[in-house]
């Protein structure tokens, strides 16, 4: 069944979808991947550049032919690109210009006989012209399937409940949010992330990384078919964070995960670009799916897209990697100047608001960002919001149940009594970190009447899990009176006590993590997502 799953995945994946896994396959075959394209103007002309075990640089051009064949007509369209691939030197700082590279055309489909003949003729022509090394080689579905099977699918969770969970993911309609909870159960077992399990050896760790990359790609099959960018982003972000968690748990050094994290970073960046492209260049309003009932989710969708768009802006700005100036202008126009149009549906929406606030600050409007931060903190201190663990669908059902008998309230929200919040402490500490003393003093009386909750996993590596079996649900009752210096001290506490260093050093991934898993938006995370100022 697993082999059939892999084949099914290969038959449905576009080139961007199978690219991260193909990089893992190369790594498993002994290649060192040094570049995986962002499909930006600067591509070095190749999708993937890698160095073979024997030291020879290799360039790979990937094509997506899911469930089909690379035809002669398609080949002729890309022939000039392929000629470039073969004849031009690889321009990359890590590649010596004196070594002739090998070039590969890779497809996840079959290659028509006529295409093979055309390639052979081109190669023969190069040989006759005195360039015997300028040969185009091909890799098709069969080879990819064989390489994929070598990625240790035997390690995949195989108990009956796991198979059921996997099938539930694979039979998802693909247009829903990525099922992070189910994915967590399966990936935790694959990466041996259960509490009390022994550390992984280097060899086993590497095997499990490769295997889980393929596993993630396969779980994305129904979502990739629907171009569900946010689901794809969520899955690869989860995979990346779990990888960091696994490395931290087993004490594996940073370099063992650096390559694959760079590859998944590319995949995530590409999908963020695609998602924002779709958002910014739509001619119709931001409606998706059935429009008659869309009103109930529209505000949520818009707020989430503002959060994601803000993250995208900060990342592209930090990396100076804008697709083009028109995209930048449209994104800046899309992101609102204030938060009056955003929906604070629960504690879980707070990270989306924060990302927007940080984007406004990064753009140079520190005053506005502080006003919005203060306003957000005020709201959280005065309004009973659904707890951070309540997902948006449950919250929407709760609201609908107040009016429509056919909806049962999935949980109860106590609108009386003191405010309990999973976000107020981090917002107050964040204001303190920004030196907002007056604002903190102004809010302190009301804040002191609330109880703040923060979940602290037992060990730092467990921070990278969607759900933890071991950890402390801390309640904090603010002191009265409290000294400003104490608040400042707490705001500047060492974050590495609670968050793996590898995650702290990747602000874009940490920001995605708190978007996807808002219960992990603990004070240390909020205070340490730092996109450094633009160059």
């Amino acid at each position: 069944m697993l082999e059939k799953l892999i084949e099914n995945w290969l038959n449905s994946a576009g080139e961007r979808t199978y690219q991260p896994v193909f990089c893992q396959m190369l790594a498993r075959q002994g290649y060192t991947v040094i570049h995986s394209t962002r499909h930006s103007p600067i591509e070095y002309g190749k999708d993937i550049i890698a160095i073979h075990l024997d030291g020879t640089p290799c360039a790979f051009q990937l094509k997506g032919n899911p469930g089909s064949r690379l035809t002669l007509a398609q080949y002729r369209e890309i022939a000039p690109q392929l000629a470039e691939l073969v004849n031009q030197q690889i321009e990359h700082p890590a590649i010596s210009k004196t070594i002739q590279h090998r070039t590969f055309l890779v497809t996840n489909g079959e290659i028509d006989e006529e295409v093979q003949q055309a390639i052979e003729q081109t190669n023969a022509s190069n040989v006759r012209s005195g360039y015997p090394d300028r040969i185009l080689q091909t890799m098709a579905k069969g080879q990819l399937l064989a390489w994929a099977k070598e990625l240790d699918v035997s390690l995949w969770p195989s108990e009956l409940d796991d198979t059921k969970a996997l099938l539930e993911i694979l039979t998802n309609s693909g247009n829903e949010l990525f099922p992070a909870g189910k994915f967590h159960e399966l990936l935790s077992r694959l990466l041996k992330l259960e509490f009390g399990q022994s550390e992984l050896t280097a060899a086993e760790f590497n095997r499990r990384i490769s295997s889980s990359a393929l596993f993630t790609a396969i779980c994305l099959t129904p979502f990739s078919k629907r171009d569900n960018h946010w689901a794809i982003i969520s899955a690869w972000a989860l995979f990346s964070v779990y990888l960091i968690a696994s490395a931290a748990k087993s004490g594996r050094p940073e370099k063992e995960v650096a390559d694959i994290l760079a590859i998944t970073e590319e995949a995530i960046f590409n999908e963020l670009t695609s998602l924002m492209n779709e958002t910014l260049y739509r001619e119709t309003p931001l409606v998706e799916g059935d429009s008659l009932s869309d009103f109930v989710v529209y505000q949520w969708r818009y707020t989430l897209l503002v959060g994601i768009g803000s993250l995208t802006w900060m990342w592209m700005n930090h990396a100076d990697a804008w697709p083009n100036l028109d995209f930048k202008a449209k994104l800046e126009k899309f992101l609102p100047e204030d938060q009056s149009t955003l929906q604070l549906w629960g504690d879980a929406a707070v990270p989306q608001f924060l990302l927007h606030i940080w984007q406004i600050e990064a753009k140079g409007n520190a005053k506005k960002s502080r006003e919005l931060l203060e306003s957000l903190c005020n709201r959280c201190v005065h309004i009973h919001l659904p707890a951070v663990y309540r997902d948006v669908e449950a919250v929407i059902e709760l609201v609908l149940s107040e009016t429509l008998d056919d909806f049962d309230p999935p949980f109860s929200l106590d609108q009386n009594g003191p405010i309990n919040s999973w976000m107020t402490k981090q917002l107050v500490l964040h204001m303190a970190r920004h030196g907002m003393k007056t604002e903190c003093q102004s809010i302190w009386a009301d804040y002191s009447k609330t109880t703040s909750f923060v979940f602290l996993p037992s060990e730092p590596w467990m921070y990278g899990l969607f759900k933890c079996s071991h950890g402390n649900n801390m309640q904090y009752v603010p002191k009265t009176p409290e000294k400003w210096e104490n608040v400042l001290q707490e705001a500047n506490a060492n974050p590495a006590e609670n968050i793996p260093l590898e995650l702290l050093s990747r602000p874009w991934l940490l920001a995605l993590w708190i978007l996807i898993c808002p219960q992990r938006a603990i004070p240390a995370a909020i205070n340490n997502i730092v996109f450094r100022a633009a160059k």
């Binding site: 663990y389 009594g417 933890c468 649900n473 009752v477 400003w484 219960q519």
Partner: protein, 196 residues
């Protein structure tokens, strides 16, 4: 397996579990109306109080057992058994909660030792240790105040309260205590600030 109808049973099971939960709360007059917080993960619960001290404990497991005979039981019988299940949960929860309360209150000097005698004086001493909140009108808010005692002590508790009400000296003492509590509450409200 034998033929089954899991979908309708799942719906009913939810109703049954809600019944157990709601009934357990009703059976705990001391705790049933308290605000509840749902815990989603982890194995511990902690609190850092305004005084700065911290208390971290493992989560406790409460369990209950009832026997059902599906071939004989009807709806009324099953719900009667669920009521018994709720009673078991309520007893375990109350026992653990009072135990925890006693430990914490003892630690912080918040207990009045009746030394086997529950009378007006011991009741007044207990009142002197309670922190009362202020209502929106600036007066002590007793809307959520409950006196909880063991069933065997109810008569003595009532007698003690009557004693306070009817003996002027004791009534005056209660008024003094409540005035002190009001001043303390006002001072606490004034202290809700972030200082240099």
């Amino acid at each position: 397996m034998l033929p089954d109808l899991p979908a309708v049973k799942r719906k009913l099971l939810k109703v049954q579990m809600d019944f157990v939960q709601n009934t357990a709360r009703e059976l705990m007059p001391a705790f049933g109306e308290c605000q509840t917080i749902h815990i989603f993960e982890g194995n511990q619960q902690g609190v850092e109080r305004a005084t700065g001290d911290t208390d971290i404990r493992d989560l406790n497991v409460a369990s209950a057992e009832v026997a059902v005979a599906p071939h004989k039981d009807d709806l009324g019988t099953v719900f009667s058994k669920l009521h018994d299940m709720a009673r078991q949960f309520a007893e375990q929860f109350e026992k653990k909660s009072f135990q925890h309360l006693n430990e914490v209150l003892d630690q912080h000097g918040q207990t009045a030792d009746a030394k086997g005698t529950l009378n007006a004086d011991t009741l007044l001493e207990a009142f002197s240790k309670i922190e009362f909140p202020l209502g929106p009108n600036g007066e002590i808010d007793l809307s959520n105040f409950k006196l909880v005692c063991a069933p065997s002590a109810q008569d003595r508790m009532k007698a003690a309260m009557l004693e306070i009400e009817n003996i002027p000296e004791k009534k005056r003492r209660l008024e003094e205590i409540m005035q002190q509590k009001k001043e303390a509450a006002l001072a606490r409200e004034a202290d809700r600030k972030l200082v240099e």
